[in-house]
Amino acid sequence: MTIDLTQFHQTFFEESLEALSDMEAELLRIDGHMSGRRVSDEFKADNESLNIIFRAVHSIKGGSSTFGFEIVANFSHVLENLLDDIREHRCKTTRNLISTLLHSCDCLRTLVQNSQNGINTLPADIDKFQVNLENLQETGCEVTPDRRRKTRGIDKNNIGNWDILFTPNKNMLSTGNDPVRIIRALKNLGNIKSQLDINSLPSWNKINPEYIYLSWNIDLLGPVEKSLIENVFSWVADDCVLDIKRNNSVHNPSASRPEHAIDSGTGTNAPAPGVSGNGLEVQSIRVSTPKVDALVDLVGELVITQTMLSQFSEEITSESIEKLQLGLGLLERNTRELQESVMRIRMLPVGFALNKLPRIVRDVSTKLGKKVKLDISGEGTELDKSVIESIGDALMHIVRNSVDHGLESPAERINAGKPETGAIHVQASQKGGSVVITIEDDGNGLNRNLILNKAIEKGLVRDDADLTDEQIDNLIFIPGFSTASQVTGVSGRGVGMDVVRTRISELGGHVEVTNNPGSGTKLTLRLPLTLAIMDGLCVKVGSQVYIIPLLSVIESLSVPEHEISRPAGGSELVPFHSEYLPFLKLYKLFNLSSAIKTTTDGIIIIVESENKKIGLLVDEIVGQQQVVVKSLETHYKRVEGVATATILGDGEVALILDISTLTNLVSHKHYQDHMLKAAS
């Protein structure tokens, strides 16, 4: 039978991209050690780093040839040869070489992504680069031809006939490996005789079709080098029990065991995976085993508590009430812990988002001729997977901006009495229910005069506006604003900080900028730990309870009706500190009757989204609580003004308001007028 390999493609792509990230990180680490040396200086990289890089390329090569991605396989083969030479110190490790390797890492990533998108052509530039790589290997590395192949001295003790006992772990198929392929590879090394052991095969009704229950006893008639055999199994080393024994006599199968001799080539007994490869892209998440174990334990506890409670409920007497309450307390605790554990499964270290930064810094600083040292701390801080995926681009924007606009050139820095190398410090930490990421550079800070002039020039601010320093600093977040006097190709296209702010607000977070002119800029991102649970303010409108995300709430006020201004045009404005804000009457918006209709009796909640503030008129504040976010769209559809829903303690559904839609209902023009009014 044939196995549909396409079901493993997704795993291959994911693993390859991960391997490339590892490779990139290691290259940058080596590069970091070499910084300060001249580009042509030789540097002995430590073997561990080189091995990681080599393994990454090797596994991509193996996987791609297995799945028939020829282009990827060819490229990685060339790269692997080069890396092999480096590893064997037949090649000088210079900074130039590291640059080449980084570029090849990019090329390989492109190729893998192309394969993922079904593109099977080799882009011309990569083709050219591949030829360069081959030439580099031929010329750049001083290799004597006779040392080219068979580099490791052959150990006579490791040659001979082998008796291989190969017992795959039950779930080996799920890692994309196939014993048949391994046995075929062994066949290429020499004559083999394979015996199948089906002793551990369970009865038919207990079979899980995705598991392997078989093991093989393979005689390999050499002479074969042991390391070659180990190479064959290197893919599955972690997924099987392998015993390779020297065996000079021809193996005599013991007749006591029921055995099927199978033809090693066809593998008729290969277990069939039960999953159909329908090519659906499945979002996956890798979870550390302890997290899952904790969850399994908790579920066990929960089951026990549940059993206990149902026993009590059968024989309920006045004495057992106490026990019942005890049990309920236990159940409550277990449930809460279970919920926390489940949430933790979605949590990943924020390092996944931060590990792209070293590369950006290296590329941008090299292009601009600046010297930059990037310092990352707190990578272990955990954040929800979806948050991590969404902030990657924002972080890249910020760091790119810091290198481009924030840090000065080496000469300028020396003039200003600063060290020649600029420093960017990225720090992640958890503060209460949110994660704070700060990006701090010791550059020149924001030039407020330049920002103000630019904003006036672009008509974003009136020229007679009198803004505070803080207000000027915040102008960088306005759409269409960019101070770069020329577009540098690195940054300065006027999209950047506003994208960052929008992205972070979408996640329910905040961006703040702290500016120390002359000595640096600091950006602070405050992100919710998770998107699945949030703090909400419960408000009542008529008979309904709505939830306002607490992160958007600024203040609540009670305003007598006579203090509401009603300028011509039908709008109503509520005074808020020195500003006047528009406000929405929720009962009108949601067509609810019997609600409080005046601001004297109700309460106005001031909310903010994307730097716009508005008021919402509600009847009363019910309280503040953590809510579990539930999608409305799963079974219904998007509802205007409502983001999602949640379930309250009494089991009723409450809708969570979408503050950004509501603030946008108050027109953009209105907002700008109001901001100018506030500013002047």
Partner: protein, 173 residues
């Protein structure tokens, strides 16, 4: 495969009995395929969704899942009726999407073969014909079989809600 075999299969198909859950709406019996029914529960209060079509009563918490509830009387433009102890929500599962249908009461589960099935006749002025899958004569009563997927089609619902006159107060300035 030879022809006799095919004929057999066809005959089997014709005799194939399907089970239908029957329910009442203003003295008329309706049926929906029982395989599409997930569960039946009594009427409980729902949370209304602002600015939705009038027949969407709101959303309900069904053990952690939020499910829209459709009043079938209002969906068919029948007269509104107070909910009582017989009022029932039939939770249907249409290719993964859940929806609750509010009906007057549930009656029975009946078997009907494809043979008994007949096309709904063209009748004039009948807006709801698109929801009708067929008719079955059962116990001297007429059972109207409904096409659940059309009834609870979310895109359709979305279209209908966009037909609603937008609230004039939406733009409050």
């Amino acid at each position: 495969m030879d022809n006799t075999n095919l004929a057999d299969i066809k005959e089997d198909l014709d005799n194939l009995e399907q089970q239908y859950l029957t329910f009442r709406l203003s003295d008329q019996d309706y049926g929906i395929p029982i395989l599409e029914v997930q569960e039946i529960k009594g009427w409980t209060a729902v949370t209304p969704i602002p600015n939705s079509p009038h027949f969407i009563k709101g959303v309900l918490n069904l053990r952690g899942t939020i499910v829209p509830i459709i009043d079938l009387r209002l969906r068919f433009n029948l007269e509104r009726k107070e909910y009582d102890q017989f009022t029932v929500i039939i939770v249907v599962n249409i290719s993964g999407k859940l929806a609750g249908l509010v009906v007057d009461s549930v009656s029975d589960v009946v078997n009907a073969s494809n043979e008994q099935h007949c096309e709904a006749p063209e009748f004039e002025g009948q807006l709801n014909r698109q929801f009708i899958d067929g008719l079955v004569q059962f116990d001297e009563k007429l059972l109207i079989l409904l096409d659940i997927s059309k009834l609870a089609d979310v895109d359709d619902l979305a279209d209908m809600s966009s037909d609603l006159a937008p609230d004039a107060d939406l733009e409050d300035n």
